[in-house]
């Protein structure tokens, strides 16, 4: 049996999405800037995708700018807003558990003279809001926080952060990386007081290489790429029309029956968690339980075994998962998120992340619950670490 439980990393392209995209490679291939019908057909399709996506987050179609993915959306939002508002203040506040596509950009800004503060999180990954209140100053120009943590599934109090920022005497722009929450947790840019929001197509059964930045009308931002202006004045270059069409279709599919999809993932998530806790000893859950956890995320450390070995044994059994183990990365350091929530390195090395999609089935979870305990048991048999040694 093949079971794909790494949907937080990337997803398969849904059949309907691929079908919607295909004509845009060969027949409807026009450049959206030109007035001839081929061009207008392409421009219409981009507008249609803007409309679909805007509706899913309570924005206006014109506020949706397509990018090459979540990484570019984050970079554009953070640097663009930071540069445009430099005179007002050079302080940026973000968190310790952001995706590298936010952290690396913030580090670059630090080198350029901006002051960046990184908020602490508690043992379940919730951002310290008191610290945020204390750190806000008249120099604060931008706050960037993720909606759902991609590793441990914590749903952050975005609405509360939005409220805190709204209460200030001067405007502080609010960027939210919603790549891990889009189509899984409701987003409302008005209610949450969000000025910029990044999403990505390939996390919701759309194609790779396309994302979007919601940018509230009137937000001062500087472009970070330069060139020929097509549909978006701030984002030059020829639009990736087939991918944008696919993104729109993927959003349409994910939000048609949003509640049903979420409920399905929740059922599978809770079944997997209950099964793991019943069948495997010496495990540690990372992230919260219940309704503050993403319906798509399950993350446990299995003590005394190393994550990459678990990952590869599951792979030999047809199951794809991710690990927080250092050994599976190029850096050989344990995950910064697990470190930030206070997980000891020797435990972090055994972290396994399972991420669900609406296409996973209950039978697949049964199969994982049959294979996983066996894999952990076998690896523990050959481990020099034993419970009594701790």
């Amino acid at each position: 049996m093949k079971v794909y439980l790494d949907n937080g990393t990337t997803t398969s392209v849904a059949k309907e999405v691929l079908d919607a995209m295909l004509p845009y490679f060969t027949e409807k291939f026009g450049h959206p800037i030109f007035v001839y019908s081929l061009g207008q057909e392409a421009a219409d399709s981009v507008e249609k995708a803007q409309k679909i996506i805007a509706k899913t987050i309570n924005a206006r179609p014109g506020e949706i700018i397509f990018t090459s993915g979540g990484t570019e959306a984050n970079d554009f939002a953070i640097r663009g807003i930071a540069y445009a508002n430099k005179k007002g203040g050079n302080q940026i506040i973000t968190t310790k558990i952001e995706n590298p596509s936010v952290l690396r950009v913030c580090e670059k800004l630090e080198k350029e003279g901006f002051k960046v503060d990184y908020l602490d999180v508690d043992s379940q990954g919730f951002v310290n809001l008191n610290q945020l209140r204390e750190l806000i100053s008249e120099k604060t120009a931008l706050v960037s926080a993720m909606h759902v943590n991609d590793e441990i599934g914590t749903i952050e109090s975005i609405e509360e952060i939005g409220r805190i920022l709204r209460e200030q005497n001067h405007k502080i722009y609010f960027h939210v990386n919603a790549a891990a929450s889009y189509a899984k947790v409701p987003i409302n840019v008005e209610r949450m007081n969000i000025d910029a929001l990044s999403i990505s197509a390939h996390k919701i059964h759309g194609p790779k290489g396309v994302g979007a930045l919601y940018l509230r009308e009137g937000t001062p931002i500087e472009p970070i790429t330069f060139g020929y202006i097509s549909l978006f004045t701030l984002k030059p270059g020829t639009e990736n029309v087939p991918a944008i069409v696919g993104f729109g279709k993927a959003a349409e599919l994910a939000f048609n029956g949003f509640g049903k999809n979420v409920e399905h993932m929740l059922r599978l998530r809770d079944k997997l968690m209950a099964g793991i806790e019943e069948k495997i000893q010496h495990m540690v859950l990372h992230g919260p339980r219940g309704n503050k956890r993403s319906p798509a995320n399950v993350n446990y450390s299995f003590k005394y075994v190393e994550g990459e070995s678990v990952l590869l044994h599951l792979d030999l059994n047809g199951i794809s998962v991710a690990t927080g183990s250092a050994c599976s990365t190029r850096k050989l350091e344990p995950s910064h998120v697990l470190t930030a929530i206070g997980v000891k390195p020797e435990v972090a090395h055994g972290a396994i992340r399972f991420t669900l999609s609406r296409y996973n089935t209950s039978e697949e979870i049964d199969y994982v619950l049959e294979v996983l305990p066996r894999v952990i048991e076998n690896l523990r048999k050959i481990s020099p670490l034993k419970p009594e040694k701790f």
Partner: protein
């Protein structure tokens, strides 16, 4: 900033490594070993324990336990396999390169795993020599 390209081979495992990971050799605890040694630290993500049975300076059996990745388990298998039947001074001379070559080459980022197995072996051999100096050849309990 100079351009740095990341090679895929930094992380890619050879068929030999995958095979030894799937079916490791000489893995498990040894009863009554002549010497045992532990190297590595679980905090850093890998740790190995090795057991040797030695008779008249010749390694008659070798086993290991591993808390580590596939490369760690595969190198443990390979090292224990290579030293069985060798004299302790020969085993001590075994190089990381020899181990890596036998495994069809290790991905660059995983070289430290081979180093760990190599270190554990040397530590076990040194422990054997130390015991021998202190109180005659350590007897393998029967």
């Amino acid at each position: 900033m100079p351009v740095e390209y990341t090679e895929r081979s930094l992380l890619k495992y050879s068929q030999q490594i995958i095979e030894l990971f799937r079916n490791p050799k000489n893995v498990g605890e040894m009863e009554n070993p002549t010497v045992t040694a532990i190297e590595g630290d679980p905090k850093c993500g890998d740790m190995m324990q090795m057991f040797l049975k030695v008779k008249d300076d010749k390694i008659t059996d070798a086993k290991f336990l591993s808390f580590g990745c596939a490369a760690n388990i595969a190198t443990g298998s390979m090292v224990t396999e290579m030293v069985k039947g060798r004299r302790v001074d020969e085993a001590e001379k075994l190089s990381i390169k020899e181990i890596s070559n036998k495994l069809g080459g290790l991905p660059m980022l995983k070289m430290h795993c081979a180093v760990l197995a190599h270190k554990t072996l040397r530590k076990a051999v040194q422990e054997y020599k130390r015991k021998k100096v202190e109180g005659g050849a350590p007897k393998t309990p029967t």
